[in-house]
Subunit: 393 residues, 2 copies
């Protein structure tokens, strides 16, 4: 009998099963769905033919994985996830490479974050390498769903929910780990990639000692009211503040490009202090900026001699306004799996808008990062093994 003893450790773990890809059973759908025209896609609404499901129970641990036709779950009304939000997820994208084979972008970073999320919300630990093997098999099976059009991809949503069928206020010792796929269009529908943000600090997304640094379901629902309010005021997203400090923008990480007195540039993003999601795109932007500045790999369409020093440090609205007034705030942008990189051109607070006009600078770091990342994701620019093939998993 398995027992969780905290810190990701399973007491009796040797006796219960971890995820075993060799036990995978695949049941394919008898009739495959028609693929909708790309321009008709709404994010997250179209589901592919199949899903990966792995159940956990305290007697057997992780059961044999199943790939089977996409369909509803049958769950007891007492299930832990309904009452206590024992739930986590990941967002990943699959692309078709130049050889027509599916690629994932730095998937091991999602897997490692997902392990940490499970520990934070006291769901059972799992072998994330085994899960990645299974995700690759699912992507290969769903290959016909990966759109070929630029800006499109197959969005993957690995999810784990607590399914303990009892109301006791305690950790869930039953779980369902599943992966679903949905074809996704570009985040921005038109030619503009500009975002407007409404800065909010009356409602607080995350707090030191809280859970904003983990990809848990609990970080999203309580933000939907403020998002609706921001939308009604004409802003795309909320810029979540902690007092004066900038944390995240919607569910994206935030960056500012600031001109230094010596002519070089600073690239600043808030530090991973527990209130900030350790985004895969966030880390990739930092890595690419460092590689550019160190001369290891220059970003496209920006001067190769222009140095851009990365800083993970506190960013406040006060400083943003000061740099803006001094003409030092060159660009602000948001990054994430869905948006990839989006310019922030307007930030509203207390009825006033801060307008960030990045066109004045002549060069666009936002565009440079977006182009480089997209090229890496599509396998057009090979870099550090970030694009990982799914075939032969």
């Amino acid at each position: 009998m398995w027992k969780s003893v905290g810190n990701g450790v399973l007491e009796g773990a040797s006796k219960v099963g971890d995820i075993d890809p060799s036990k995978l059973t695949i049941t394919t759908s008898e009739t495959l769905k028609p693929i909708p025209a790309p321009e008709t896609l709404t994010f997250g609404a179209t589901k592919t033919d199949h899903m990966l499901v792995i159940a956990f129970d305290p007697e057997n641990g992780w059961n044999a994985p199943e790939i089977k036709p996409y369909g509803p779950f049958s769950l007891d009304p007492c299930s832990s996830v309904f009452h206590y939000a024992t739930s986590l997820f990941e967002g990943m994208k699959a692309y078709l490479g130049p050889d027509g084979e599916p690629l994932l972008f730095r998937p091991e970073m999602n897997m490692s974050r997902m392990e940490k999320s499970a520990e934070r919300v006291a769901l059972p630990p799992f072998n994330s390498q085994a899960l990645l093997t299974l995700i690759k098999k699912l992507v290969v099976l769903e290959k016909r769903w990966i759109p070929k059009e630029p800006g499109y991809s197959l969005y993957l949503r690995p999810t784990m929910i607590g399914t303990r069928p009892s109301l006791g206020v305690t950790a869930s010792d039953y779980a369902l780990l599943y992966v679903i796929c949905t074809p996704a269009g570009p985040f921005f529908k038109g030619p503009s990639t500009d975002l407007s943000l409404s800065a909010v600090n009356e409602t607080v997304r995350a707090w030191p000692g809280g859970h904003g640094g983990h990809k848990l379901a609990v970080n999203y629902g309580p933000g939907f009211g403020p998002l609706r309010e921001a939308n009604s005021q004409g802003y795309n997203q909320v810029l979540w503040l902690l007092g004066d400090k900038i944390t995240e923008a919607g569910a994206m990480n935030f960056f500012a490009v600031v001109k230094r007195d010596d002519g070089d540039l600073d690239l600043i993003t808030p530090p991973l202090d527990g209130t900030i999601l350790p985004g895969v795109t966030r880390q990739s932007i930092l890595d690419l900026a460092n590689a550019h500045t160190e001369g290891k790999s220059h970003l496209p369409n920006v001067p190769s001699s222009q140095k851009l020093y990365t800083h993970e440090q506190d960013l406040t609205m006060t400083y943003l306004r000061l740099w803006h007034d001094e003409g030092k705030l060159l660009e602000t942008f948001c990054v994430g799996t869905a948006v990839i990189v989006g310019s922030v051109t307007r930030i509203g607070q207390d009825g006033k808008d801060l307008i960030i006009d990045s066109s004045k600078a002549g060069i666009s770091w936002t565009d440079a990062f977006r182009k480089r990342l997209t090229d890496i994701q599509l396998g057009k620019f090979k870099y550090e093994g970030w694009a990982v093939p799914c075939a032969e998993a």
Copy 2:
């Protein structure tokens, strides 16, 4: 077509239906379950024969309510609740009164809190008086499940989950509101009603601007890891701190009885600053203490002349220790629907235990409040209409 526009307001609400008890359909179970022996009950594990279910969709608003056999829900893997924790609940108890008819305890307080929870997590608004009418009908139908033994009751769990079947990171415009019932035994299995708490501030349950003041699923899951850790160290529950400030104990409100220099007593509980759940039992304790001190209704087994002044004010561990060392800290206790009132006799922090020995005082306010509340809940002591009959709903 219904549209939510925030602040609990439905745009086009006149066109979509609110909860309508006159549309209730009742489908009773063909075979009723055997009622387990009371001493075998585990909290939340035994479900009664029926449940109340009301679905919301954006076209029709609240659908016709159904009471039907208890059974699983069929839900799309994309359902909002799985990914974004759009979920809330209430805890209520039904008792059998002296005439053998079911009673609820101050249910309108749960209903009003549930409305506020829905607004906080951007789920659809609803007529909570209509819901209460339906809950009473469910309780009357499930009357045979209400245990007659002292300390037992039928626990009710009104729940609302977001069921929007799409991954878009936005408010759920589909929902399921349901009420399930589970017979519950006494919180304390033995004769002792003592609780030990482990004070924790590395992990934070709730923060200003967050959601700790609403009964949302998101407030529970992230606490299960620290709870497991506290249990493994021999404590019953976590005492959640914000820095040095005491907020809640597990999912209970916290009270301290402190001796004043003039011989009167102070009853102190943290204020409803947004980090504290506005507990029905918490408010009832404050009301009963005020009634006692004002001479309106004396508490049992305590001197009627002993005044107990209520204060909703910050409580810190530093003050608790100071009062303890000065011999002024007479009692600490936790209150909630499940526990009713439980003495706190030990609080651990940084490897040291603060022992609160309430027996020295000779009288027990904890016992006085528990007895009075229990008598009101069972209809033995009539007070301010707090015990509400379910019959003829």
